[in-house]
């Protein structure tokens, strides 16, 4: 698993449950105190170990914890960057949903070795979307559910999002769009905060 993914899990656990909690997880998983390095690759089993240890210590199931991770990645004020990258996907929530298919390619522009799951969006009936997530490793779909909910909040859309089982080798997520502009959403400027010369 890419270090960036592992480091995101680490930041989530540390920021949400405290440095002492993260230290316990790291120790139990046999990681150094500093945890993961962003630009390293790690064995997938290590990522699973960290998730299972954290869930065990919290007495939670992994899927809801991973949903919280997804929400954190998008809505934590310390991680404004990812929210901005996702908002660049489109002016409205539906545009954003369609842009998800481009997400792995876009990510690869910046980090050629970052393998995000392949995403495929269908709209079986108006306002009802089905997102198929084909990941090399299970668990991504739960993170995605958290992210999609948080992004709906960001766009001001009213949605009902849930995992919808597996089909054709892909984990599916159903997205029912009740109102695309339920609230005004959060402010977004295309090039806000980009320093000159970036």
């Amino acid at each position: 698993m890419h270090g960036l993914v592992n480091r995101s899990i680490q930041s989530f656990l540390r920021d949400t449950y405290g440095a002492a909690f993260w230290a316990r997880v790291a120790e139990a998983a046999g990681l150094p105190e500093d945890g993961f390095e962003t630009m390293q690759r790690y064995d997938d089993a290590l990522t699973d170990r960290v998730i299972n240890i954290a869930a065990g210590l919290l007495d939670r199931h992994a899927p809801p914890m991973l949903e919280d991770l997804g929400t954190y990645l998008v809505s934590d004020p310390r991680r404004e960057r990812l929210r901005r990258l996702l908002r660049l996907g489109g002016a409205g929530y539906v545009d954003f949903l369609h842009s998800l298919e481009d997400l792995p390619e876009r990510a690869r522009l910046a980090l050629p070795d970052l393998d995000l799951p392949q995403l495929c969006l269908n709209e079986p009936e108006p306002g009802r979307f089905m997102l198929a997530c084909r990941a090399a490793h299970p668990g991504f779909q739960h993170v995605l559910v958290g992210m999609l909910r948080a992004m709906a909040d960001d766009y001001g859309a009213l949605v009902v999002i849930d995992t919808a089982g597996r089909a054709d080798g892909a984990d599916r997520i159903s997205i029912d769009l009740l109102d695309q502009s339920y609230t005004r959403g959060k402010q977004f400027e295309l090039a806000a905060g980009m320093a000159a010369g970036l």
């Binding site: 500093d34 910046a110 295309l190």
Partner: protein, 365 residues
């Protein structure tokens, strides 16, 4: 408005007939376009371009009043622009903003005069883009996705810029962590873990550097006396405690720029940068001896040690080398040991290996 593709013989097959677009369709297709009439006056502008002009009246104004040709610099007639492969156009009220673009001739409306060679004299259609300065443009003018055609890769460009910055930030953080870890590792590699003083390697390094710099320094070699007895009779914990106490005394009695190292079990070396006479070394050595010989309490008992000290000065040598100085300080130390311990011996200024050592024999306090 119409644009005509080259036609074949007679009947135009589907797709080569002139395309007629409404102004609204043109605005959606090319939000940054500009239409000029045959006289070079603006007769239409895309919504994003209008946004850049921020409410300034455009329609009916001459092109040159609002815009500046950057490349090609000079044209006799504006419709020559249609022959340029690439235009660079400045906006007069936004210095620094340079748009790139392409101009094509428009056919004249029916009834107007036509130029048979080059398409009609119905004016020009210019399609413009921000080029590489798009990030600044988007930021400065508060542009949104809606200001760009969906075929435009501007948003991808912004995405890439932001993603690249995020990756660079991560790399910078990682570099900071690595540098911090490296500094800690280097400090550990130079430090004697028991006493916190420099270790043998660090002393050698400091000594080589001092010799290479060619500046005067004093070198003191100190060996504890009776330390073995403390270790043997009171145990290693007591011995370790004594070594830490000695380290504290050495640090107390020297200046912050002096280099103190533990170079063996109970052997210490001190480098005194800038010292070119024995007087200060002898007075420091005397204070050190006085404090070392005071009983050191450990778990209710008193540990008693003393020290033999040898000293030399780099200024005594025509060609000082680290080995030579360490060797001479060591020989001076053994002269102290032979003459009864608890003493300081300085190397004679005669500066010869065979020179007799002139002991400045001092009684321990």
């Amino acid at each position: 408005m119409s644009a005509e593709a080259p036609t074949g013989n007679g009947t135009a097959p589907a797709g080569t007939a002139p395309a007629v677009l409404s102004a609204a369709a043109l605005a959606r297709l090319m939000p940054l376009h500009l239409r000029l009439d045959a006289a070079g006056r603006i007769c239409g502008a895309g919504p994003t371009l209008a946004k850049l002009c921020a409410g300034r009246p455009m329609i009916g104004r001459p092109f040159a009043e609002l815009f500046e040709l950057r490349s090609p610099r000079r044209v006799a007639r504006l419709d020559e622009l249609a022959g340029s492969a690439r235009l660079r156009i400045g906006i007069r009220h936004l210095p620094g903003t340079v748009l790139r673009g392409l101009a094509v001739p428009l056919d004249a409306a029916e009834g107007d005069a036509q130029d048979d060679d080059n398409g009609g004299t119905g004016g020009l259609l210019l399609n413009l883009s921000f080029g590489i300065s798009v990030v600044e443009a988007v930021r400065d003018h508060g542009l949104t996705e809606a200001d760009f055609a969906p075929t435009d890769l501007t948003v991808e460009m912004l995405y890439l810029v932001e993603a690249k910055s995020a990756v660079l930030d991560e790399l910078r953080d990682m570099n900071g962590r690595l540098l911090g870890a490296k500094a800690v590792a280097e400090e550990q590699a130079r430090t004697d873990t028991l006493t916190g003083l420099r270790n043998r390697r660090a002393v050698d390094h400091a000594l080589r550097a001092a010799v290479a710099e060619g500046r005067a320094f004093g070198l003191v070699h100190l060996d504890l006396d009776h330390f073995k007895q403390v270790n043997d009779t009171m145990g290693h914990a007591a011995g370790d405690h004594v070594l830490r106490e000695v380290a504290r005394i050495l640090a107390d009695e020297t200046r912050s720029g002096d280099v103190i190292g533990r170079v063996g079990g109970d052997e210490f070396v001190i480098l005194f940068p800038g010292v070119d006479g024995y007087a200060p070394l002898i007075s420091i050595a005397r204070r050190i001896l006085a404090r070392l010989e005071a009983p050191i309490p450990f778990e209710g008992r008193a540990c008693r040690v003393s020290a033999s000290i040898g000293a030399t000065l780099s200024c005594l040598y025509a060609w000082p080398t680290p080995e030579r100085l360490l060797g001479d300080a060591d020989r001076a130390l053994y002269a102290s040991k032979r003459s009864g311990r608890g003493r300081v011996t300085t190397l004679a200024p005669a500066d010869a290996p065979e020179a007799a050592l002139r002991p400045e024999v001092m009684e321990g306090a």
